[in-house]
Symmetry: C2
Amino acid sequence: MPVLTRPVLEINLPALLDNYYNLQKLAPNAIAAAVVKDDAYGLGAEEVSAYLYKYGNCRHFFVAHAVEGANIRSQIPEAIIYVLQGMGDDNVSLFKRYNLTPVISSSEQLIFWKQNRITDIKPVVHIETGLNRLGFREQDLAGLSTEDIAGFGLVMSHLACADVCGHFMNVKQLDNFIRLRNQYFKDIPASLSASDGVFLGEEYHFDMVRLGAAMYGINTAPNRPNTMKAIVTVKAPVLEIAPLAQGEYVGYSATYRADTQRNIAIVSIGYGDGYPRSLSNVGKVYLHKNHQRSEIRVIGRVSMDNLICDVTGISNIEVGDMVNILDDTYTLDNIGQDAGTISYEILSRIGKNTRFERRYLK
Amino acid sequence: MPVLTRPVLEINLPALLDNYYNLQKLAPNAIAAAVVKDDAYGLGAEEVSAYLYKYGNCRHFFVAHAVEGANIRSQIPEAIIYVLQGMGDDNVSLFKRYNLTPVISSSEQLIFWKQNRITDIKPVVHIETGLNRLGFREQDLAGLSTEDIAGFGLVMSHLACADVCGHFMNVKQLDNFIRLRNQYFKDIPASLSASDGVFLGEEYHFDMVRLGAAMYGINTAPNRPNTMKAIVTVKAPVLEIAPLAQGEYVGYSATYRADTQRNIAIVSIGYGDGYPRSLSNVGKVYLHKNHQRSEIRVIGRVSMDNLICDVTGISNIEVGDMVNILDDTYTLDNIGQDAGTISYEILSRIGKNTRFERRYLK
């Protein structure tokens, strides 16, 4: 057996592309933009953007911050890069240098834009329809001049409850969006839905859908089976296997005590790698070996670099084995649920470290 | 007012150095090693290591993974870099290239070391004393040869409950450590304590203490007042301020409903920046303005890039203001407690993104 120390993060780019195509098929009349903010939800915005640009012919990308747009520009030279948090004193130079397109959500940002316009860039106007997050409120729209409005390249809003088909908020926001668009932005292309909204039906698609979570394999409609492919696998090596005598304690603060003699394995992944500490005494990892899948329970506190698990009765586990932390069977959605959060947060955390060996399947 | 979009992470290196010195004073006869694993708990291992090396004369550094050692080597050319997860097939080339010192925790790793020895490197032997995580078990130690033992430069173990002075585990582990050291490693320098162990008294100090959490300002003895300085400040800009009508909902899944007319602010930080989603409807942020500190409640779900908060009655808040997410008053320990986790996990997450503007006070 090899001696291994390092967790591995595998990102299946062809599966991501399949998800992109399948979402696109559900919204065939809309432009399929890719949401690659937060470093493509932790999976590497450069690699993800380059792949979608090259193989998916994607030409519209959304990031949250200008610095994220700057980081991917060289990979997607001809694309439009929309920056959701908008333009300000702390990033205007990046907008100019990397030819980024601001999403304008407030009067303050609009004034700033007019003072710092970039030739050939048509900004997006973001309007509030019920999420009560970013966006022009209805009462602000009357203040827009005809010239302001003519300058926008896209009008967008964002749904609060698109993960639940039939939620009253969806219809309310759709009605608000149509009404405000007709009143102020009649001739401007429109975008309301992220990937969860794609599943709500054609009336939610307008001219552009913004594909993020579902493209990354997350089930954005938890009440229905996931139709997307899992694209992320995380594995970590077993560093050590040892007996644990009855009455012994495991991990920080001695939260686990062995009622009987056990065997334990020390695995090289912890909350420093984005594995949630809330999975202390709760998490599950999986050994795939000799065509068998064995479920293994995490015991004791998850620490920064390691977790400890109970491998009593799993006779074929050895030092150097890789155990699966998440895969296409124990998915992001499963681990999110077990950890008391959502898969989005898990994904965003998992990719945020430099200790993984990162493998892109291409 | 400026228009701002980007959260800011400030790291006070002189305060970190003060913490390092103050911990050193508590253990004056021990070498003060710095623990800079997990990218110095997210604060930037290169900057932190370089500063401690240059101004603190620190020459012993602990990382978890070889890749972390490789990343800091150029900053600390003459230092010993100990790698806690050990040496294996997946990192041996980094050990050789960057002159790293493995911590050997198992028979498998010892065999690997003997096959891949590096001239002039004396590895650390890690022994188990009660945490039941990494380390040689007592029954394995009898298998070590005299030559194996003579080759080690340090014998170490790690405490499970050092955050609680008087915990029965501390004495148990101390006794085990002394007994095993006397039996097997009599002439080899020893290290038992991380920063929490420093506060347990001189008998826990041995020849080296490994300073991590407390140096970063975390209170490692939560039952006592923190004697360390806070070294981290996180601020995020207000992107937008808007009225919220009675009956309106806020954020994903509409988890907050306004019973009365409110004013809300949209702040540019979210779980993508390491702000815990578990602070949805629970978190607090702070406005410092005109010599006043106002507490502001987070309402609705925390999303990836933003949080929303209730600023009703805070008449002086404006778009472009920076609110404090954590500082020396609302500390890492406070936010950890509110989020249902420990400050270590918060710190490790906060620093793991490239969207912050990162400022080092030097």
